[in-house]
């Protein structure tokens, strides 16, 4: 009797399971998308790495290709180019370079900021005793690309120092060798990147952090083409949702994030990446803000710095450089 009823229950269960599986939604085909990173894989992109590895993209029905900026041959892909030409749906760029291209007519719009405060800094060896902008007078410093010159300009301007008092050279070597060999007195850096390398190599150093002197901006905004934003807002939202969740996971567990970055880029050291992640936390998630959030304050400041440097005309409408629509939709539905 018991046996009989058991088999009856089993039969009912299996019928139920069959019904359930019949009702269960078949997994929708995943949408392919891609993001052009602005650097090689580091902890800076831990959110993307987490989102991919932890399946947050898949949750949103996406398969996302993460493309580092450096190819195996050493060529560098420009993210704005890649997005404009449709090679990638999303890209990462600094707010100043983005604004400059937008002013030139590039149809791209920022949708979120990875670092909400600028990690830009000038790094020097401790023995050089360069601790304040004034100390830069007569020194040789190396900066990469034109955009960081605006930062330097503003910093020196605020400190009342003439740019001509400094010996500025273009940064072509992306290691810290020039600094440690004494070739240059200071180099521009992200506090989230090279200081940890130098520390690991056993050097004492000083940092002049631009943000401390009111020179701030977004060094890595996520952007998409105006076309994508207009025509595929659901893709933009899904991608952003998964990415922000990835960054939240990285902030929640810096050790895991560091380990993951090392998996993506075996040239990295876990300790360095962990240090950099901990340095990144206040930038990723500053006091009272949400991950990925942007403010008009920083955008205004950025455009103002650019105008002061003569890089932007007065007519440039910075409010069209970015949209908070997606962030607001995610955080304040």
């Amino acid at each position: 009797m018991i046996k009989h009823s058991r088999s009856l229950i089993a039969a009912c269960l299996s019928a139920f399971v069959v019904l359930l599986s019949a009702c269960a939604p078949t997994p929708p085909s995943l949408t392919s998308t891609s993001i052009q990173l602005s650097w090689e894989h580091t902890i800076e992109f831990s959110g993307f790495q987490m989102a991919e590895r932890e399946g947050y993209y898949a949750e949103q029905g996406l398969v996302t290709e993460l493309r580092p900026a450096f190819s195996a041959e050493g060529s560098i892909t420009d993210a704005v180019d890649a997005v404009i030409t449709g090679k990638a749906d999303f890209g990462i760029a600094s707010n100043d370079s983005l604004m400059k291209l937008q002013a030139a007519g590039a149809p791209v719009v920022a949708i979120a900021a990875i670092y909400q405060r600028s990690p830009n800094a000038l790094m020097s060896l401790a023995e050089s005793n360069i601790t304040r902008p004034e100390d830069l007078k007569g020194k040789t410093i190396t900066v990469s690309g034109t955009s960081r010159i605006y930062y330097l300009n503003s910093l020196l301007h605020n400190a009342g120092i003439d740019l001509a008092d400094l010996n500025i050279v273009d940064r072509t070597d992306f290691s810290t060798d020039e600094l440690t060999s004494g070739k240059v007195d200071a180099l521009d850096t992200f506090i989230t990147n090279e200081p940890a390398v130098l520390e690991e190599e056993g050097y004492a150093y000083n940092l002049i952090i631009y943000a401390d002197y009111g020179v701030d901006g977004y060094v890595n905004v996520i952007f998409a083409s105006q076309d994508t934003i207009n025509k595929r807002p659901e893709l933009v939202e899904a991608f952003l949702r998964a990415t922000l969740k990835g960054y939240q996971a990285a902030v929640d567990d810096p050790e895991k994030a560091a380990a993951l970055s090392v998996e993506y880029n075996s040239n990295l050291s876990y300790e360095t990446e962990l240090t950099n992640m901990l340095v990144s936390v206040p930038l990723l998630h500053p006091n009272g803000s949400q991950i990925g959030m942007m403010t008009s304050e920083i955008w205004d400041l950025g455009s103002q710095l650019m105008r002061e440097a003569g890089e932007l005309s007065d007519e440039f409408d910075v409010t069209r450089s970015y949209t908070l629509d997606f962030l607001n939709k995610i955080y304040n539905p």
């Binding site: 902008p133 004034e134 701030d216 567990d253 206040p282 998630h285």
Partner: protein
């Protein structure tokens, strides 16, 4: 008597679990342990609850203490800033350095810097002091590298302008990547206007000291602060391996960070999570949850001793109950066993067996009933045995009587036959000439001897009938017609010269019947000879016919008849009617024998008679007569 194969049911050993004593022991143990278990459970639950409540109260007071210590500590920071600014010379220098930096001498500037540094050194609450303008530019600082920096984007900047005193809850300082607490105080000029802000960066290690100080906490207890900033630890765990900068989420942390205050039992932040009793409180000044926790295992350790005690008590009680159960079961079951043994013995035939159960309870009653039953059964069996013995003895006597009668009939008849036959020889003159007188005398001898022989035969028959020893020699197909013809010829010779007409009316379809031919003949001759004997003149008539399933025979005469009062005597042995007595002769046994013979044939014999007119005897015999048995029952 029972056969041996049926006996052993009670003799077979009963399996333990079916034994009365086993279930009794079980019952006793159950009865003892269950209430004890319930009481223990309630007791232990209460103890646990009490212990938990004690711990909660303790944790709450610790949280209260820590909250006060934190408030005191933060207040001391504000007080320290007050003390700094209470030095009017120093305040004046600050005002001057902000409002008119150019008028300050290098000496004054050095003094100011030295003063600020000395404050830091003398005041362990602060790591750093800065003075910034209302534009957010740092003009003075314990660290010279800070001078010239902008604080406009720092979270404390706007509140510090708006409030006379302000404590910035922990936030991440980008340049140090550390959670930082800043206390600010506005600096006024002589006109009472705010001209600058004095800000002190609080040394968080003091907070760490407050939180890791474990007065009043047990071994596994700890207190810590979790910041609203990413759910990171504001003060370190006292256990190794838990990074400050990692999101910690537990029930208490989540509720605490939602601004709630309370207590609970939950799994804490550790890996693997430990069940703890915890109290949480939202500390608004720090935007952090203050948690005090104690491992639940430690709280329960006290009640574990009680649990062990209770377990031991339960064990002792269970053993006592089992022993009690065993004793009681024995008290109950031993009379039953004794009774069973007695019943067993009794059923084996030992009728003298009595049980000696002396209890006064129901089992004693049962034993008494058993004993009286045994007595009754024994009595009945003895009576039956006696009856059987008597029956056996009677049987034996009967056999002896039969043997006696048989031998007597043989022993009597043989000499009588010799007397009769030899006398006849003499009468017939075979032995020589005899005269008339001799013939007459000898004929009388023959007559008397023949009468004696008949008497003997009748007595023999009667005794056999009375002893139930008469055996019928049953034949199938007895021809009654032939029998009746033979009877008629006998009748003719009996009538002799008397003026009697002999009439017969025998049905032609008279069936053959199942009967003892000789005995039926004996009955018929007996009746017909009586008819002839008692009829002087007239008619003797025999009628035989079939009526239903019976043969019906009537023999009627026109003789003297029998008085109504005498009619019932006809069938009684050794009794004769008056007419019979008058007529003389006969043994008085003929008709009783005839009646018994017809009865034994399942038939009927009766008579109708009118004094002076004649008598009719009726016989009815069943034709089939399947029930007819060879012997009289």
């Amino acid at each position: 008597m029972q056969s041996d194969s049926q006996l052993p049911r009670s003799s077979k050993p009963i399996p333990l679990w079916r034994q009365f004593r086993f279930s009794l022991i079980l019952f006793f143990v159950f009865l003892a342990v269950v209430p004890l278990g319930v009481v223990s459970f309630i007791n232990i639950s209460q103890q646990i609850e009490q212990a938990q409540n004690r711990v909660k109260e303790q944790l709450e007071s610790i949280v209260e203490l820590k909250t006060n210590q934190i408030a005191l500590w933060l207040n001391q920071g504000v007080l320290a800033l007050d003390i700094i600014l209470s030095n009017s010379r120093f305040e004046q220098l600050i005002v001057t350095s902000v409002t008119a930096p150019r008028v300050m001498s290098d000496e004054q500037k050095d003094t100011l810097t030295t003063d600020i540094r000395s404050f830091v050194q003398s005041n362990p609450y602060f790591e750093q002091f800065t003075v910034y303008t209302l534009d957010g530019v740092i003009v003075l600082g314990s660290s010279p590298t800070d001078i010239g920096k902008l604080v406009t984007l720092q979270p404390y900047f706007q509140p510090s302008l708006a409030q006379r005193e302000y404590t910035q809850p922990p936030f991440y300082d980008i340049s140090t990547s550390q959670l930082t607490i800043i206390v600010t105080k506005q600096v006024h000029n002589s006109g009472g206007q705010v001209v600058a802000i004095l800000a002190g960066k609080i040394n968080l290690s003091v907070l760490g000291d407050i939180m890791t100080e474990r007065t009043g906490l047990s071994d596994s207890g700890e207190t810590y602060l979790v910041s609203r900033q990413n759910n990171y630890l504001l003060t370190p765990s006292r256990f190794a391996g838990y990074a400050l900068q990692r999101a910690y989420r537990t029930e208490a942390i989540n509720l605490g960070l939602q601004g709630r205050t309370g207590e609970g039992i939950y799994d804490n932040y550790q890996i693997p999570p430990q069940p703890v009793i915890g109290v949480y409180r939202w500390i608004p000044e720090l935007e952090a949850a203050l948690i005090a926790e104690v491992n639940q295992a430690e709280v329960l350790a006290g009640s574990r001793a009680a649990q062990v005690n209770n377990g031991l008590i339960a064990l002792i009680v269970a053993l006592t109950a089992a022993a009690g159960g065993l004793i009681y079961a024995n008290r109950l079951s031993s009379p039953i066993t004794q009774l069973t043994h007695s019943a067993d013995q009794f059923s084996r035939g030992n009728l003298r067996e009595r049980t000696h159960v002396s209890s006064r309870n129901e089992i004693g009653q049962l034993a008494q009933s058993f004993n009286s039953m045994a007595t009754q059964v024994e009595l009945r069996i003895l009576e039956t045995q006696a009856a059987l013995e008597r029956a056996e003895r009677a049987d034996y006597a009967d056999k002896v009587k039969s043997a006696f009668l048989a031998s007597m009939s043989h022993e009597l008849r043989t000499p009588l036959n010799a007397v009769i036959n030899f006398t006849r020889f003499v009468v017939d003159g075979d032995t020589g000439p005899v005269n008339e007188e001799q013939v007459e005398l000898l004929s009388e001898v023959v007559k008397s001897a023949t009468h004696l022989l008949n008497l003997i035969n009748d007595v023999l028959d009667m005794s056999k009938i009375e002893a139930g020893a008469l055996v019928l020699f049953v034949e199938e197909n007895v021809d009654l017609t032939a029998l009746l013809k033979s009877v008629m010829s006998t009748a003719r010779s009996l009538i002799g010269g008397k003026p009697i007409t002999l009439e017969t009316e025998i049905a032609s379809d008279l069936p053959r019947i199942r009967a003892d031919r000789q005995r039926i003949l004996q009955v018929l001759i007996n009746i017909i000879s009586n008819a002839c004997k008692f009829t002087a003149k007239g008619t003797v008539k025999i009628i035989a016919k079939t009526v239903n399933n019976e043969v019906f025979i009537s023999i009627s005469d026109t003789g003297s008849g029998i008085e109504a009062d005498d009619q019932h005597l006809v069938f009684l042995p050794f009794r004769q009617t008056k007419a019979g007595l008058r007529q003389g002769g006969g043994t008085g046994l003929g008709m009783p024998i005839a009646k018994n013979l017809i009865d034994s044939h399942n038939g009927r014999l009766w008579l109708e008679s009118t004094l002076g007119q004649g008598t009719t005897f009726y016989i009815s015999l069943p034709i089939k007569n399947e029930k007819l048995e060879p012997a009289l029952s």
